[in-house]
Symmetry: D2
Subunit: 280 residues, 4 copies
């Protein structure tokens, strides 16, 4: 058992001082803190435990408040960071992949985002003449989860990618964090795709340029702290609750009690950011 | 504009007397009427307007009552007819495809069925040793609809089929009927797959052995009568309502007011029938 | 059997020329048509078949499009008309009552509106000091329907009214119309409360000043045309479809196929209008 | 801050040895453990921290598995214990009250149960002649929560009780526990009604014979452990995680990740048990 977090920022925080091969910068404005953690060398990768690449963490003050104005600021921040991250990539055709289980609320951000992004791949060339700007083909799928489909998510996505032939994939996912204060308040964007074992369901397979043949951007919001990660963080000799968390905590999560509303806000912010980055 | 129905039985009913190339038999028992319409020749195909093949219609008395016992009888009838229809086919690996839009209740039977069938393709050979009967690999996907994914359903299904490599596909769909009395009370099973233009959404693409490379069984329940089909059925000179149905009826459907409950029952019966036919 | 409509406007339209005791005026602006039908005398009441009072119909062009800007215009129109209707009433404490069955989509506007209006009755006097305007106590209940509670809605509402002691009740409801083109595109506001038999479920009891002891404003959106109303509107000799509608049409409704999305829009517009009229 | 649990059993477990004024017995059969904790004196009440009365805890092995057979055993156990608890009470007319917020999954058991119990109060005497057994009037309401209605739940329930005039109230609620292993696996039934502060939402008001004028049975299933209760259970010197739980844990809960499915099972078992106790 070990500490589990999908946030590169939290991996970085486990170390004091400089880490060779890892750069980290942060800036604040208007209630939003954006931190860039860039893992640049295999040495950095080994220390942090995440693949080489860029990890952008957007922390949004009061995101839990369900306020329209905060939601809009969050969308803008996500849209801007995403735009910068993809500006050197081929975005001629983009496929959004919404990972996770729509029937398990803390894991439903991906499928909810699919229902909210603006898709355009099916608009005919004729219909496009009616618009005075370029419409980039965007498509979106929610592949479901292994327990419901009986199929590895990676297989379904690979099958769709081979037919849709996107030049870029954006995978959206609910994440696990270590710190409670990050639940529902933080968006992570990275250019490294999805690593095995990340996500709320904890059995995600790899979705990366290596497996899909095109670059994969990952966007996620931490929605849970694993009960076993909580247990790991309890240090000391008297360990009654630690043992209970270890023995009975499998499948148990720490999550906000209004996770239903929070997963709606999170998918609003992600889909709004994606729409902004791709359609304007 | 023309009369629209996905039920071969209703196409057959439009003709009195024998039709060359079309056989039709019917039997009743225990509150359930099973009718077989077999279209055997191109001539029959042309008259009926449905592809050559077998169409089984199961009419279940009082299916609208949401009674457990009626639901069980429905499941058994669907399971038995499905078993007979697939008994000469290769069922080494079966993929269930749930067509339709989960967010539009009358069109949600397909995705709901996917959430209810028992999938087994991901069970490891090791785990299978624990069972004392053979577990056939069954998988299931809900590909979504064009308006939400931007991708033709047929492309997604083809991509999945190429990776999962099933020997048989079962496509589940909500149907349009002509007669109000059939809404939510009838299950149609056929070995011809899905024809273009069928289903509630009315823009389904072909899903057949020709397009997917493996046999395709289709199972559906009529959930709506199109407003324009209603209009077509109004004959006579004074046609105020007919004209209104034609002018304003686009996208309007006639449906039971408790279609939410009925789509639950329908997906229970279909998934129960599929589980029975494939896992026992 | 007879034509069924909850819209006073449609009752008025059944007559050509003047009706003694009934005034009707209409104005258009910005894609919105507002019609006032005032029933002023018992004679007018008898002709129109609706109680004496004011009926305001707001027809919103393209309301079915789910466009943010149209939704906002709808909210403003509803808010303004509601404000005028209640300006001479005591609005010291307002109770919103969301009628209908949340599990039957076309009947769910009332309960959905309850989830969306801003309630303030529970804000303590201390907390109110933080606001620089007056906060009027607003509360909201969704009493459920007879088939689920076993209790007449009127009894539940009366019990709540006796404890909450509002000075005004606003009852929100899904309506039945005669014309297909009005489904999901029209809001009716009246100062007469809810009459027996109106609403989608068709077994609403009276909720009026007479039964509750305080004035009752009713707000509704037509979501269905009854199958039997359709049948009544079919005139002529050949009446195959008419007979089928009469025989099998009980509980069948004509409704937009995306009634799920439309009931969301409708409850957004009504709750937005109520919030505007009561909290600004 | 203190340990929070709604289970009398867990309060009892905090003490070793006998407690004066508290009796406790337990029996096991068929995968189900039933424990009776009877608080008999003010002294026992003070020690345990729950009102004088009977508390029955039904622990159901493997209730998390969503197995039909286990669900049935759970229903029978709940039905039998409930029958015994109410056999000396006047059950001429029973009102089920489903507490909690239907939009927050771990708090939704009450409203879900209301949708599943068989209500009969509205069946006319005439219709009852068709049954060959006595039909007791049963009704059910889901009063909503303060944040959505602006009205104290107790006021709504009191208003309904005064009109419906039941002889017995059964209040159904989601509970907070201390031990993770009890989440979704345990049903508590008591004859003491609802105490202030219990339930997932943690701001329930009193619903007891004292406030409602008729006996109140409470039935609940623990769905969450409060983050602050977790923190309290962490003893020792190094307290990093303890402090984070205390600082950021407000509104955070530990809950099973498939709480959606578990709240369905829990409301099935409770409603099945209630139906069995009242209608057979």
């Amino acid at each position: 058992m070990k500490i589990r977090t999908d946030l590169a920022l939290e991996c970085r925080e486990m170390f004091a001082g400089e880490i060779s091969g890892v750069e980290s910068t942060s800036h604040d404005s208007d209630g939003i803190t954006v931190t860039h953690v860039n893992i640049k060398t295999p040495e950095g990768e080994a220390r942090i435990g995440k693949p080489i690449g860029s990890y952008i963490t957007i922390e949004i003050d009061n995101m839990l408040c369900q306020d329209d104005e905060i939601e809009e600021r969050g969308e803008n921040a996500v849209g801007n960071e995403l735009k910068k991250l993809i500006k050197d990539k081929n975005t001629d055709s983009v496929l959004i992949v919404g990972l996770g289980n729509q029937y398990i609320t803390p894991d439903s951000i991906g499928p909810k985002t699919v229902g909210k992004v603006t898709v355009t791949r099916h608009i005919t060339s004729e219909a496009k003449l009616g618009f005075d700007f370029d419409i980039r083909p965007v498509s979106a799928v929610a592949p479901g989860v292994l327990g419901i489909t009986g199929i590895e998510t990676g297989e379904i996505v690979k099958g769709v990618v081979e037919h849709v032939k996107p030049t870029l994939v954006i995978a959206v996912d609910a994440l696990a964090a270590r710190k409670i204060s990050r639940l529902g308040t933080t968006v992570q964007i990275s250019d490294t795709g999805i690593s095995p074992g990340s996500g709320v369901g904890n059995n995600r397979k790899e979705l990366t340029e290596k497996t899909l043949g095109v670059p994969v951007i990952a966007i996620g919001v931490p929605m849970v702290v694993d009960a076993t990660t909580l247990a790991m963080d309890i240090i000391g000799e008297h360990k009654q609750i630690k043992n209970e968390l270890i023995e009975n905590g499998r499948g148990m999560i720490l999550t906000p009690n209004d996770v239903d509303a929070i997963s709606n806000t999170a998918s609003d912010i992600i889909s709004g950011g994606i729409n902004m980055a791709l359609h304007s």
